[in-house]
């Protein structure tokens, strides 16, 4: 049976296309990042993202097909991110993907970007024992998801203010580390001592919600108050990182215990963070459950995860109608 899906992803600042077989075997995954384009603005500029996606998407799709050695008419489906994300960015991928599906006469599938991130876990471990707890952390999202079965999720909690990745970028800016600051901050933190700059852990309550704006403000205040430059930036970075990671893992751990899940997984761009990976692995060890840390290339936005999610959506719901629109605030459907 033909099980090849072309995935297309343009929800934020990565233009991506990938071909995945059977929702698990990645034949190609091409990602063109716009980081340099947005760097001088200190954040993603939606209009520039839309302009860049339009220029880049065609060649990226060509690359993905060529690397996979696949022609469009042989595909089982074209799947594309329909939300959440930047509306102007989403619309480029959605329109292009619909046209491809119509012209090749293959099914079209609209996919939720967040579901894509969840499927990044199953890409590498199709046999992952469900139910699982997925800690989805990125520049736009922070949530704890209980994946009960394919397509069946419960959102246990999420951030009430900033996403974790957003807090990383803002603190990196306070420390003058440039944009995007997450990876640089992570590296700097590895050379620092968190004990020299302890930060408050936010929202240590019984809920599965998170709040990062308090930690972010605490860092900014400490740096501003340090007029004699006694604080080492590496220590501040380490203190911040410890505060964020500790609370994320603490709640993820409790989620595993309360739901009786069989696995603990990370997803999203912040899943590339070294301390988060180490702490999550340790937590899973202590709990005696499976741990899945996706490869770096599947943590950040990519189209392989969209192709994988598209394949499973096609199995469960069939194709999407060609008149669907983009949904910038699309939420994860809870089964």
């Amino acid at each position: 049976m033909n099980d090849l899906v072309l995935g297309v992803e343009t929800s934020c600042d990565e233009t991506a296309a990938a071909v995945v077989a059977g929702g698990t075997t990645v034949l190609s995954s091409v990602v063109s990042s716009q980081i340099d384009l947005h760097a001088r603005f200190g954040g993603v500029v939606p209009e520039l993202a839309g302009r860049a996606h339009l220029v880049t998407l065609g060649p990226v799709v060509d690359d993905a097909l060529a690397q996979a050695g696949v022609v469009g008419r042989d595909l089982a489906a074209v799947s594309v991110t329909m939300g959440p994300g930047l509306i102007g960015a989403l619309l480029v991928g959605l329109s292009h993907a619909k046209a491809l599906a119509l012209a090749w006469a293959v099914p079209f599938v609209g996919v939720n970007h967040l579901e894509g991130h969840l499927y990044a876990c199953l890409l590498e471990r199709p046999d992952l024992p469900l139910p699982a707890i997925v800690l989805l952390v990125s520049g736009g999202h922070t949530m704890l998801v209980h994946v009960k079965a394919h397509g069946e999720y419960a959102i246990l909690g999420g951030t009430i203010d900033d996403a974790a990745g957003e807090a990383y970028d803002k603190v990196a800016r306070v420390l003058g580390l440039g944009y995007p600051g997450g990876p640089v901050l992570d590296k700097l933190a590895q050379t620092g001592n968190a004990k020299n700059a302890p930060m408050p852990k936010a929202m240590r309550d019984a809920s599965f919600n998170f709040s990062f704006s308090g930690i972010k403000t605490a860092v900014a205040r400490r740096v501003a108050a340090d007029t004699s430059n006694e604080l080492a930036p590496a220590d501040v970075a380490a203190g911040f990182q410890k505060a964020v990671v500790d609370i994320l893992v603490e709640k993820a751990k409790r989620a595993v215990i309360e739901t009786g899940a069989n696995a603990l997984c990370l997803a999203g761009g912040v899943a590339a963070n070294s301390r988060l990976r180490a702490s999550t692995e340790q937590a899973a060890d202590e709990l005696g459950v499976e741990c899945l840390l996706p490869a770096f290339k599947y943590c950040t936005d990519n189209a392989a995860m969209i192709a994988a999610a598209g394949w499973w959506r096609l199995q469960s719901d069939g194709p999407s109608p060609l008149d669907i629109g983009a949904s910038p605030n699309l939420r994860l459907a809870v089964g």
Binding site: R40, F41, G42, G43, V44, V45, E47, L48, G50, R51, H53, L54, V55, L57, G58, P59, V61, D62, G72, I87, G88, L91, V92, G93, L94, S95, H96, A97, K98, A99, L100, L102, A103, W104, E166, L322, D323, I324, G325, A326
Partner: protein, 218 residues
């Protein structure tokens, strides 16, 4: 020739040849462009009895006009051209408006609302029933445009704005696009780009603040 139009509030698709349009579908102020265009492609092909793989080139309106609308139209056209290995023809929205007025017997000024109190405009002469640009598409204040028109010689103004100044109301249409594209030269899809005529807000703000880039998302 299959034409995709989405530079203004009107989204449309038409299919035809140099001899004329066989089928078209247009929606103004209806569902969003991204929702209507691809179903409309399917619809006009069915109505015209033409299979998509019989199409020789994809025509698309490259603006100026709504940024997002243009991108939806061009992305749709790009997808079709890529899947079918077809060349593309890009036509300016202002050319389409002017082409529709070529029998008026005067020079033509085509205008499209650029929002923020500005207009996109271009000026055309007409010889042998063919429009010829004498001023390239630009973005300017209506007062600046009208000042340029104060000189000798009559012009007709056509477009979706400046009705107060006697403009004939018109929106670019997919049918006109197919007609005009049929006499154009198809090019490689990589050569097709929108005529934005204006930078993004973030770039404009950064340009205005010497020494510092704009900060978004604070």
């Amino acid at each position: 020739m299959l034409g995709i139009e989405s530079a203004t509030a009107r989204a449309g698709v038409a299919i035809g040849t140099a001899d004329g349009v066989v089928a078209s579908a247009e929606v103004t102020r209806g569902p969003r462009h991204a929702e209507i265009l691809v179903p409309a492609v399917k619809f006009v092909c069915e109505q015209a009895g033409i299979a998509l793989d019989q199409v020789d080139a994809i025509a698309v309106d490259i603006g100026p006009g709504l940024f997002t609308g243009l991108r939806v139209g061009i992305a749709t056209a790009n997808g079709l051209a890529q899947a079918l290995s077809l060349p593309m023809i890009g036509v300016s929205s202002l050319d389409l408006l002017a082409h529709g007025m070529r029998h008026a017997g005067n020079d033509i000024v085509a205008v499209i609302d650029a929002r923020r109190s500005e207009v996109y405009a271009a000026r055309y002469g007409v010889t042998d029933q063919q429009i010829k640009r004498v001023m390239d598409p630009t973005v300017l204040l209506p007062a600046e445009l009208l000042a340029q028109l104060d000189g000798p010689g009559d012009v007709v103004i056509v477009g979706d704005t400046l009705a107060d100044h006697g403009a004939f109301f018109a929106l670019p249409s997919a049918a006109m696009l197919v007609e005009l594209a049929a006499i154009g030269n198809p090019v490689d899809p990589s050569a097709i780009a929108p005529l934005y005529l204006r930078k993004s807000d973030a770039e404009l703000n950064a340009d205005r603040q010497p020494g510092g880039a704009a900060r978004e998302g604070d």
